[in-house]
Amino acid sequence: MNALEVAGLAVSYGPTEALRGIDLAVAEGETVCLLGANGAGKTTTLRALSGQVRARAGRIRFAGAEIGGMRPHRIAARGLVQVPEGRQVFAALTVAENLALGAWTLRDAAEADRRRRQVLARFPRLAERLRQPAGSLSGGEQQMLAIGRALMAGPKLLLLDEPSMGLAPLMVEEIFAVIAELRQEGVTLLLVEQNASAALEIADRAYVLENGRITLAGPAWQVARDPSVAAAYLGG
């Protein structure tokens, strides 16, 4: 059963076509990665899925319902949750407040408390910094907070936009370990990454996006062996 089904999705910024009709699907429990050079349309894809940019054409089905054209807060409330590019934690708010915002749509206080304990167990460093403003955290800690905040929403599908961007190598490893953990736990993931080798290692399937079109799709191991992918994204 597919959690997400996208058909013919096209997005334009004024005269510029960012997405020229893409099809993609993510099955429940699956980890899918979306590869591509800068400007290929990866972030645009995620922004369109979350309702942050309006699609010019195409359909987006999530958990059995058409969500194309819905506003971002409605899509988030349905469990399609995004960890945006550049993390976008609320820098002036405390770590605890950021986590509370993640569970904004959840009315059940006991459940919110349970999720918060889980997140803090997963990221002990956040537990030590609950009262600090998120802006005072290191880049890696902010990424943990951004992921933890998204997990507070209890996502049915988690979109991760460049989670390793700008992080020190050790921290990159740590973030990928977290993603592997989430995958093990059965969280459905759509991952956009510059770090193609790490992403392909973790993913079940992969799509390659070039100039707003999907040029290659398949099981991650197969995509990793494709000569064009090896040349363009895996450093030869």
Binding site: S50, G51, Q52, R71, P72, H73, A76, A77, V81, Q82, P84, G86, R87, Q88, V89, F90, A91, A92, L93, E97, A100, L101, G102, W104, T105, P133, A134, G135, S136, G139, Q142, R149, A153
Partner: protein, 292 residues
Amino acid sequence: MLAQQLVNGLLLGATYALFALGFTLTFGVLRVINLTYGFYFTAGAFIAWYLTRGGTGLALALPAAAIGSGIIAVILDALLLTRLRRARADELASLMVTLGAVLALYAAMTALLGPDIRRLPQSVLGSGALVLGPVRVTQAQLLILGAVTVLAGGLVWLVRFSRLGLGIRAVAENPDAAGLMGIDAARIAVLVSFLSGALAGAGGVLIGLAFNAIQPYMGEQMMLRGFVVVILGGLGDIFGAMLAGLLLGVVEVLTAAYLASGFKEAVAFALLVLVLWTRPAGLFGRPPPRRA
């Protein structure tokens, strides 16, 4: 003499603070400079004037004026600024649009209602006073003190400590990310417009009480002070606005008492320029938080 002037100054400043709170709230959350804000102040004073003239007591007229101005603010905001927000137009665009709109509103109101100064009925103002040694506090001043304390305190509680306030602060910092949390940023914007309009309207009633002179352009004069207060306090800073409001009130009253009342505005704006030169982030300004 000095003690009395200080009390008068602080109470006048309290109304400035209340007025500036709403203005700084709209700027802090919605990132627009909304010059129609002064009109809500006029609207509040006029609503209270109509109601009290018809025999309604202030206990009812003040909340009614606040709610009425809040609703006007929501409507004007939706008419004037929704499109600009959607297009992510810069602050100058909102400044120009609302400047045009507010001038039209004052002119239309003057044309419809006449430019005369209206006065609240004596029964509303009361004649009693509280005498504490050398200081005399009128009934109207006590009412101002009570209303400002309740409204400003309520706003601070809402923004700092309530769940809704957390949503407001999230939208203020990053409306996009707030949307990803499931927060309806458009609804928060409506709420913030209402709150700021209500604060301005309440401010209009209280200044009406303090000076007992209500006329269409009163919001325009207040808006200039609002600017001074908000910039002194740091744009978007609620505590800064409260302190700067009190400061401006004291400075104006002391200038009028010891220099000449004609110098009031000159001193206020000289203060503004001085602060902008030396502390561009406002008197109590901190550098903005680092963004990730």
